[in-house]
Symmetry: C3
Subunit: 471 residues, 3 copies
């Protein structure tokens, strides 16, 4: 009998006694018709831990940032109505459902009830702004228009939702009501655009941004899942953001794959060398990481860029991380809403100062330092600096060539992404330059040699040159 | 001590008493010389369960579809001779082997002895016809000829077997006998073409089609393996059929990777939310899936297309699933043995009616509905419909361009796959169009953005246009 | 509580009593500041087994090749000083560290103290010579120069270390001293070039070649990691050496992924069918593999090419394996330091004779034969032979075309890798030809059909032909 089976059977025999009366009928009915959904919840900490006992844990071990709990809710677990019925007036998608007022789209503002610190950390981050940062930036909107275009016109809402906005987040809006017929007869539901979606920058009907379920997948919200690198891999993937591909190839990834069954995936705080023996994405970018003696190595943060100093993702050049998670307000030297100019110069304002960059690198070094010597880390970071500088140089070389094509009227800079020569240029930074930097940052060397990186940067330049020579 | 080690040791100390006298010498001798092969069998249910006890299980829990068992076989397990010695006269590859009459190639007709329903479900499926559907279709044979060609001539038998036919299945024929020298001296064996092979549409010496070992790998025949998505990934792989690549990137795949050690992989029937918490390929396409209360969500089927309504794999356009697993008899409006015409119109006969399509989608929805709300599924399927329509449009745009090239005699339509301009066109539907649809069907969005899908459909079109303009 | 957690807690409560007095202060201090590093070591056999008890094991079960142990070291485990303090005079990177004389770069010569046979097997291998075989070969150095080039000049040391030399190994040299400030104040350390690095052919400060940590990652040195295919995948990766990609897609890989939690990863010797049920890279290329009755199937070797007869990795053609691991001394018929001539003929000297090739194939067949019949293996190897012959033919066809371009002065043979036409040619053998052969050798068929192999060999040839015709 597997642990999962055993746990599930025990739950069925002995359902949690602390489910609120509001949630009880939800559980009963949905357990019949949606046993997968309710099965996830039964495995979750939400179904097993009352608010009072969650708050009573020592500070470092707490999984909620609420400071105290009282009233009837304190003795209850978190079930359906606690989230889907929270603050109904604030949710335009609230509807009547067999006597209850519930909403479909649970948002960070609902999660705030127990996790206020996490929600506040997340709100100003680049992830929370991922929708607007893409679609409200006229330059990126042009690229998206070419990438997802159809012969008949601009990208459809569905296709955007199936591709870019699946990660960046859709705008979920209530446009009316609709009646569907289910196993219990007709049910009236809100009509939603952009649904379903779990993108990190989802624009919710209540005006909030984000979807905690991007990483804490419904309805188990498990730390094991959030800390597993595959979760991040859903969006951080080749060819443009090959974090997963590089990680999997790295020594860190290899150790994880060999030893993952021995990790204490759910332990809080996460102890280096005891609970895990290879870092995952969460270790370096988010989790509260401590030494076995309890000393903090890195504080928890739900701003996943909080330990980052350089933005490897080049647009089109790598540059200091932006000060604000909302990047549409940046202006480069050319007046465009981009973090760097066409020649690579960083925007004059809105990016991290060298001092802040150094402090963030130092925070990351503390994580490296739990396994690696200072000499090791010094060498690693020096190579990353070189990868940033040289990949920017090679992007600039391609930019000079596409600018030559524009000057010779071989392509039209008003539509900078729709001709093959321009698409060569896009690949130079969006795919190859980014990959060189991710590989250097995360020690996945082979990936950047021939797969996606150096070889392609140089052969791409040769093709750009030949294209120009032939015309 | 691992469970595997413990189980293996117990087996060695106490071999199954119920092995037939026909099989006993096989086990003894092959255990010495092929301990890996026999070790697999020792781990299998075949080595541990007698026919009588298999039949005696409650109907829903049964792993065989034979209804009753009597005679001496009822008290025995399934060992070597039960399969390799079954019905020797029907097998042209039967040979004398130390006094026994055995055959090398065990076929579905052998498996039928205990699994008749499964064999009957499989026989009319597209998988069973995968060999002929490829090599007997003159259009596809031309594409295969280009893809696998050599300077000196057509694709060799070996190369076909090492590539396309490894999945589609070879034709295994007996062409004589040969003598080999092994550890026990000279042995005479049948001489086989197309061997080894485990392709789904293998043409067996006994005239049957298929290889159950494609998914139930020899000689353990484990459900864990058949239900693991990696098994399907052997053939359903990028760039043309990226089911695995999309799944791995999807939330379903991510949950599986994080939690796979907790699944009850071998449970029959498979209970949603109790035995597994994320679907694998088998969940949606084949397994008997039930609610924890025993209610059937989806019936078992070994016709893996039984719950499919639209054929995403475009040739060159997505279209309603064919009525018959044998697709060479289809005729499109151009008179070619293809499911769609050059302009995308489905063949006038031989494809599913809208009513049957709707019924199949409904069967799939029941699986989705165990975890997802109706609104979630509605949104999902609406996007899939759009992906089908728009990827077909973009394929048509490429078809118009290659047709223009043929009209201008820049390429020869009699050899439609051998020029670069034509190969651009092939990639548009075989790689990019298919990928867009698989990604939408299985929610692996990032894959279809830049990796293999939308960006490539549009840049490929730009390259086709430029190629034509330059000539 | 996970096994890892339990083990770690036990270790903390009861530290190994057999740590030498030299190592005790290292453990104490580094455990505080580098708990990850020391946690790895605590999980290792090094921290748990004394030399005397390691030597006392039956020969086949021994994990060290040292024959006897006496003196004080016999009663001790292997901790920090036993490796980092060994033979200080031989290590130019030795420095004073709080009273101890230690060196950073532990080399095979240090490991030799307990593992002399393994070090001697490794020393003459291609892996040990991987650095020089690349950078000291003027032909390959030209290719490397193009692949990693910058507009301003030749590849930087950092970029080489971040890509090719991460696997091939850097040259680690001491260039002086440097002072760093850590948690305990200022420390003086050796200044190293090419550091960090774990490449298989690392040139160490003590003059030795190799890094055992390439596969036996620091500081756990676990068999589980060394035997996991992901470890090899760090360097043996698409597009040029797609061993991992092919393996993962193969039946072997699929069985591993489904069943890996049941393997006895750490057992020595490794018993087919008992300890593991699917081969990993180590099974076929390195491990001591035995039958359950103890009979040796394959002897352990740390020359990972010892069971290989044909070198699939074409430069540019597949050819008999070289006699020596140092390949720069080979001379082809054109006088270049390559194993084959431009027309594919193998170098007249320095490659395996057909007799030795046959003996090595026979050694590999013994491994196959533990699970597969002779007919199965015969068919498999016949297809591999065909894949070698045909992929060489298709490489030759591309070579003829690039030679035509050179003769027509459309490109310059003095710089054979820097023009698009030449880069098409490079891909033909370095990516596509190699992939066809790896896929045939390791039964990952789909990979070589459309992903990386046959289709690309043929479409690449069509593009080369068109390029020439247009000029």
């Amino acid at each position: 009998m597997t642990p999962l089976l055993l746990a599930a059977l025990l739950q069925i025999v002995a359902p949690p006694v602390a489910v609120s009366t509001d949630s009880e009928p939800c559980v009963t009915c949905h357990e019949t018709f949606q046993p997968g959904l309710v099965g996830h919840w039964r495995r979750s900490r939400h179904s097993q831990v009352t608010l009072a006992s969650a708050v009573a844990r020592p500070a470092a071990e707490r999984r909620i940032s609420l400071q105290s709990a009282d009233g009837p809710a304190a003795g209850q677990v978190v079930a359906c109505h606690e989230c889907h019925g929270r603050n109904p007036a604030a949710h335009p998608d609230t509807f009547d459902h067999f006597g209850a007022r519930v909403h479909t789209v649970v948002t960070p503002e609902d999660c705030r009830a127990c996790h206020p610190v996490e929600v506040d950390e997340y709100a100003p981050s680049k992830k929370a702004h991922a929708h607007g940062n893409l679609v409200d930036n006229p330059v990126f909107a042009k690229l998206l228009g070419v990438a997802l275009g159809r012969p008949g016109g601009p990208p459809s809402e569905h296709t955007q939702a199936s591709t870019c906005l699946a990660c960046h987040g859709t705008e979920v809006k209530v446009t009316g009501k609709r009646t569907v017929t289910g196993e219990l007869g007709e049910v009236e539901l809100p009509k939603l655009t952009g649904w379903p979606n779990q993108g990190v920058g989802r624009q919710n009907p209540d005006g909030s941004r984000g979807a905690c379920t991007s990483c804490h997948a419904r309805h188990e919200f498990s730390l094991r899942v959030a800390r597993s690198p595959e979760t991040c891999s859903q969006c951080h993937l080749e060819p443009d953001v090959p974090a997963w591909d590089v990680y999997r190839e790295s020594k860190h990834g290899n150790l994880l794959m060999a030893n993952r069954s021995e990790f204490a995936w759910d332990r809080v705080p996460w102890r280096v060398g005891v609970d895990f023996t290879a870092p995952t994405c969460a270790t370096c970018h988010s989790s509260l990481v401590v030494r076995p003696d309890g000393e903090t190595v890195a504080a928890r943060s739900h701003d996943f860029g909080a330990r980052l100093w350089v933005r490897l993702f080049g647009l089109p050049y790598a540059h200091p991380q932006p000060l604000s998670g909302q990047t549409t307000t940046l202006r480069n030297a050319d007046g465009l809403p981009l973090p760097t100019a066409f020649d690579g110069r960083p925007a004059p304002a809105g990016l991290l100062s060298p001092t802040t960059q150094a402090a963030r690198q130092e925070a990351m070094r503390r994580v490296c330092g739990t396994c690696h010597s200072q000499g090791w880390a010094d060498g690693h970071f020096a190579r990353l600096d070189t990868a940033v500088a040289e990949s920017n140089e090679l992007t600039l070389a391609a930019t000079r060539l596409v600018q030559a094509a524009w000057q010779r009227r071989l392509a039209d800079p008003a539509h900078p992404f729709d001709e093959p020569i321009e698409q060569h240029w896009v690949r130079q930074w969006l795919f190859y330059g980014n990959s060189v930097r991710y590989a250097a940052a995360m020690s996945g060397p082979d990936y950047a040699a021939f797969k996606n990186g150096w070889w392609l940067m140089n052969t791409n330049l040769a093709e750009l040159r030949e294209w120009l020579q032939r015309r």
